[in-house]
Amino acid sequence: HLGRPPLVLLVPAVLAATLLVLPLVTLVLDTPWGTFWSELRSEPVRRALALSALTSGLTVVVCVALGTPLAWLLARVEFRGRGLLRAAVAVPLVLPPVVAGVALVTALGRNGVVGSLLRETTGLTVPFTTAAVVVAHVFVSMPFYVLSVEGALRTAGERYDVVAATLGATRWTTFRRVTLPLALPGLVAGAVLAWARSLGEFGATITFAGNFPGTTQTMPSLIYTTLQADPAAARTLSMILLVVSIGVLAGLR
């Protein structure tokens, strides 16, 4: 109702939209739909699918179990260094995945600060195991979860907690009966985000956990490995991840 949009804005906007949409459309068109189901049943694809399902599932469980209390702490308790902690939690969000992998190697690698301690005391090593995949995924995914839940807690506001206190509720009861139910949509959104991030993780995983079929080769790693040799398998898996991405976006709205 304010008048027609000027061409000087329309033209670059259309160009930008084309750039973003075209690759997705061609991917959908070029996917080998005829052999889609048989591709799914091939050994490497099945193994990568199973591993991705397992690791992303575990990642979400760890995020919810540990991330919810952390989000609550950041949103509801005042303490020295809270701003710093919140910033530190957000670092993995913008940290390049490869750097995250290097940091994990430095900490938990065979010769890492914590890793060597672990090896000496228990004989266990983390890198290049399925556990390493989960650790890498938790490291890069948990910030999404924590910040989403913290945002939900802040949006819900402290007033509901305050009312509970004036009505005689303890802090733990308030958390269970008031805080958590009100932040539930944020919890779910955060879990979905963390799951999607985990499912697509590539850089930190390949750096910290490697790319071994059956133990650390997740879907993105398999796609990367087979794009030249077996583009059909790569596109089939890409299609699955694209559908998941679109589903996640649709679910978050």
């Binding site: 305050v162 009312v163 509970a164 206190a165 004036t166 005689g168 509720a169």
Partner: protein, 359 residues
């Protein structure tokens, strides 16, 4: 039910230059409806939140009855608070909201239902008990918030601008409902508002605050008839009292050529620069040559009342003089009218200190 006593209770926010409330002394009687009123930032909400345990008390003490509750957590104070935004739990039904405090106190389900139903009946909410708050109107939500507080049967109600989110009509209706309810229940109530009309109509007594300090604690009519200082005089009453600068000499107060009639108490005490206050309804229209000349600039006809807004060229008189007149027959825009008043309607204040000089 119990009395409430603030004894030099202070709140100083960390990092602030001055305390929000430097130290308040206030005694509230058992069953009394006390209204804290003042402009925003006057410390009225902070004072209430200190009583509820939502703000730390840095110095001094607060008692409910004989209990020193200064440092108790909110849940142990036996109060119930009603907030401006109600903060009803959206994931609970009206009944669950109202019964929340009883659930916390582990009251058996039967007893809980009984008390919730009683309160709902009292507030006309019976038919809404199964609804979620979002399915209610603003006025109904307000009543649920009241109900949630009532069900707790606390020693003290704390209410923080509970009518601000209602529209004008609803506010007028609800304020009488709350006043009636409180007087029936007889629970000591501390009520915070920025609206002087609410304060006047609801409070047994009203505490007027400014910059964290109490200005006057009195019944509504005392505040209106004998404001203790210039701030209270200007704050209480709408339209505002006409406050005019005058000069006092030998027991006479004059604004330009107009000699203001003042009462004997003021006559003795006033000298030098004073401020004279006259409420809009206290003016009398007199003939030309007498009184204060006022040129009418705006006429407001509200149906029942009419307000004339005028300007006076006399030095010291504010740009606008407000006169309330009755009937449909009065000066029109552009006319000059003359007004005066009587000694017992004139409030005299010391301009510098703001203190009341008249009786």
């Amino acid at each position: 039910m119990a009395s409430v006593s603030f004894q030099k209770a202070q709140r100083w926010y960390p990092g602030a230059d001055t305390p929000a409330v430097p130290g308040i002394d206030l005694d509230i009687k058992d069953g009394e409806f006390m209204v804290l009123v003042g402009p925003s930032g006057c410390g009225k909400s902070t004072t209430l939140r200190m009583l509820a345990g939502l703000e730390e008390v840095n110095e001094g003490n607060i008692y409910i009855g004989d209990r020193d509750i200064t440092h108790l957590p909110p849940k142990d104070r036996d109060i119930a608070m009603v907030f401006q935004n109600y903060a009803l739990y959206p994931h609970m039904s009206v009944a669950e909201n109202m019964g929340f405090s009883l659930k916390m106190a582990k009251v058996p389900t039967d007893e809980r239902n009984k008390r919730v139903e009683e309160a709902a009946a009292m507030l006309g909410l019976t038919e809404f008990l199964d609804r979620k708050p979002k399915a209610l109107s603003g006025g109904q939500r307000q009543r649920v918030a009241m109900g949630r507080a009532i069900v707790r049967q606390p020693q003290v109600f704390c209410m923080d601008e509970p009518l601000s989110n209602l529209d004008a009509k609803m506010r007028v209706q609800t304020r009488t409902d709350i006043a009636k309810l409180q007087s029936d229940l007889g629970i000591t109530t501390v009520y915070v508002t920025h609206d002087q009309v609410e304060a006047m109509t609801m409070g047994d007594r009203v505490a007027v605050m400014k910059l964290g300090e109490l200005q006057q604690v009195a019944t509504p009519l005392e505040l209106y008839d004998k404001p203790a200082n210039l701030f209270v005089a200007g704050f209480i009453g709408s339209p505002q009292m006409n406050l005019m600068e005058a000069v006092a000499k030998d027991g006479r107060a004059s604004i330009g050529g107009y000699e203001v009639p003042v009462d004997p108490a003021a006559e003795k005490k006033m000298h030098g620069e004073i401020t004279v206050g006259v409420r809009p309804e206290a003016w009398r229209v007199v003939g030309p040559g007498e009184g204060l000349p006022v040129k009418v600039t705006v006429v407001e006809e509200l149906g029942a009342d009419n307000y004339l807004y005028g300007t006076s060229d006399v030095e010291g008189v504010p740009s606008t003089v407000i006169v309330r007149v009755h009937g449909r027959d009065h000066a029109r825009k552009g006319e000059v009218m003359h007004v005066t008043t009587d000694p017992h309607h004139v409030h005299v204040f010391d301009t510098k200190t703001g203190a009341r000089l008249s009786d």
